[in-house]
């Protein structure tokens, strides 16, 4: 045994190493299973999967790409949060500051926005794929429902983020998008049957979303908190359930 080999062995057998890594590197079935089940990140997977679940031709990897986009927006989003203040007086100036003065500011903002758009596209394609392979069929009905919730959350995440640049594009897109709420039957001040409830412009479904009768600084703060805290947390909760269910039921195909 060379000195190098002995050195390596000493490290691998040390108490510190063994406290971190619970399995050997040797390619044995036991180690392959331990690599997944003994790893908190990888154990989102089952330790064995059906052959077709690995093929790109089958999965298009769209679920994974959707999750990857979610991770990219979290990483880039945290960077953006360092420089952005959700206050009407500062928000737009901070955008310019971010674009022109911050190292990699423009790149981070671009990646955040394009990843958000790509996430919407990927989640639609994922839904399309799951439909086409009939993967919502028993025993995975409930996971499809969780997936629909995640689809809605993806759109809400993207929509609340749309307002934050506080430019003409963002406030008018959000105005048009939220105007629907004032037409809600019973709950919107321009919706049918409104007179039976007594809603008005500052007290209806849209005002609840905006935090006031018109889009304004209060809306910016509200959307910021929804975008950076509430919806990401809620999405994470549903993602955990979504992944857990795949792990339990296996990836696609009739029950085992």
């Amino acid at each position: 045994m060379s000195n190098w080999e002995r050195f390596k062995q000493q490290i691998v057998e040390s108490q510190v190493w063994r406290s971190m890594f619970r399995h050997g590197y040797e390619d044995t079935p036991r180690n392959r299973i331990l690599a997944v089940s003994g790893n908190v990140w990888l154990h989102l997977h089952p330790s064995k999967v059906r052959k077709h679940g690995v093929r790109l031709k089958f999965t298009w990897c769209m679920g994974g790409i959707t999750f990857l986009m979610f991770l990219i927006t979290i990483v880039t989003g945290i960077y953006l949060m360092f420089y952005y203040r959700p206050v009407a007086e500062y928000a737009y100036a901070d955008m310019k500051y971010l674009e022109f003065d911050m190292p990699f500011g423009m790149l981070m903002r671009n990646m955040h926005r394009w990843a958000a758009h790509a996430m919407v596209i990927a989640v639609w394609l994922h839904m399309f794929r799951v439909f086409m392979t009939g993967s919502y069929k028993p025993p995975r009905e409930f996971n499809w429902v969780v997936g629909v919730v995640l689809l809605v959350l993806t759109l809400l995440l993207s929509f609340t983020g749309y307002l934050l640049p506080w430019d003409q594009l963002s406030i008018w897109a959000v105005t048009v998008g939220s105007n629907m709420a004032r037409a809600t039957p019973l709950l919107g001040h321009e919706g049918p049957f409104r007179e039976f409830v007594g809603v008005n412009a500052v007290y209806d479904a849209r005002a609840f979303i905006f935090g006031g009768g018109e889009i304004g600084p209060h809306t910016l703060l509200r959307f910021y908190i929804l975008h950076c805290v509430f919806f990401p947390l809620l999405t994470t909760v549903f993602l955990i359930v979504h992944f857990w269910r795949i792990r339990r039921d296996g990836l696609s195909g009739p029950p085992l």
Partner: protein, 266 residues
């Protein structure tokens, strides 16, 4: 002693069940699946980086709540719904239809009891499911987004991408309500006719669907499917087709509303 007696048959049953069946085609997640995911992530991240280096995210002038741009467009993924606003009132296009879409997607696994096509691609075994999904997702949702994004200009008028946006373009709107078109001039008579048309559409549509499914799949299937599943499916399907019908009526016959009342218009 008693415990051991109970435990043994379970253990043998498990040991016997393992090698048979579809679990045979299983492979190890590490390295097979993790490798695919890792490579996929690597390429996608590289692609996102290149995209982000080449194309800057838009930033227009500062928000001005008093200056409304024309057209004002929602984020692109909602433009299908905004496009539907041409044909329906906001409470329907913006509230009822999105709710129906979400609910319809959620109930999908419960109304589709076809056991075939679980875990593999097939058209022949799930013809009607796939056609319906195509109508809803590709034909309606996606193509309306394309229309809303690329061919709607000032005043939400139709402009081809190569046409300049003329903010003063005037489009004659001679839309009339369907009962009026049918010759009814009295206000309440129009409301009654409108209500009858819509109720008739759902009654006849449901009956036609029932007859068609019994004819196609047999009474046995209908019994197994049950009235709740059938009711949900036909209600959702008829609502989806109603959107297409209303669009056809507007584009073909300039119909504004089918039902006009003091409270709601459809």
């Amino acid at each position: 002693m008693a415990e051991a007696k109970v435990a043994t048959p379970v253990a043998t049953k498990r040991a016997k069940a393992k090698p048979a069946g579809p679990s045979d085609d299983k492979i190890y997640t590490w390295p097979h699946l993790v490798r695919v995911e890792f490579l996929c992530a690597l390429f996608v991240i590289a692609g996102m980086l290149v995209w982000s280096l080449l194309v800057d995210a838009p930033l227009e002038e500062p928000a001005a709540p008093t200056r409304t741009p024309n057209p004002s467009k929602a984020p692109w993924y909602f433009l299908g719904l905004q496009e539907i606003l041409v044909y329906f009132d906001p409470w329907h296009a913006g509230v009822v239809l999105p709710t129906l879409i979400i609910v319809g997607l959620m109930v999908l696994p419960f109304i589709d009891i076809n056991p075939k096509g679980n875990g593999y691609y097939t058209y022949a075994e799930r013809k009607y499911e796939i056609i319906t999904f195509f109508l809803g997702f590709h034909i309606m949702w996606i193509s309306l987004i394309v229309v809303g994004t690329f061919v709607r200009g000032p005043g939400w008028n139709w402009f081809w991408p190569w046409e300049p946006w003329d903010t003063h373009k005037v489009v004659a709107m001679n839309n009339v309500d369907l009962p009026y078109l049918l010759g009814f001039r009295d206000y309440w008579a129009q409301a009654v006719v409108g209500l009858t048309l819509i109720a008739g559409y759902f009654v006849v549509g449901t009956a036609a669907m029932y007859a068609w499914i019994v004819n196609k799949k047999g009474a046995e299937f209908m019994k197994k499917w049950g009235p709740v599943r059938f009711g949900l499916t036909s209600f959702l399907f008829l609502n989806m087709v109603a959107v297409v019908i209303k669009m056809g009526l507007r584009l073909g016959m300039n119909v504004k509303y089918i039902l006009v009342t003091p409270w709601i218009n459809v």
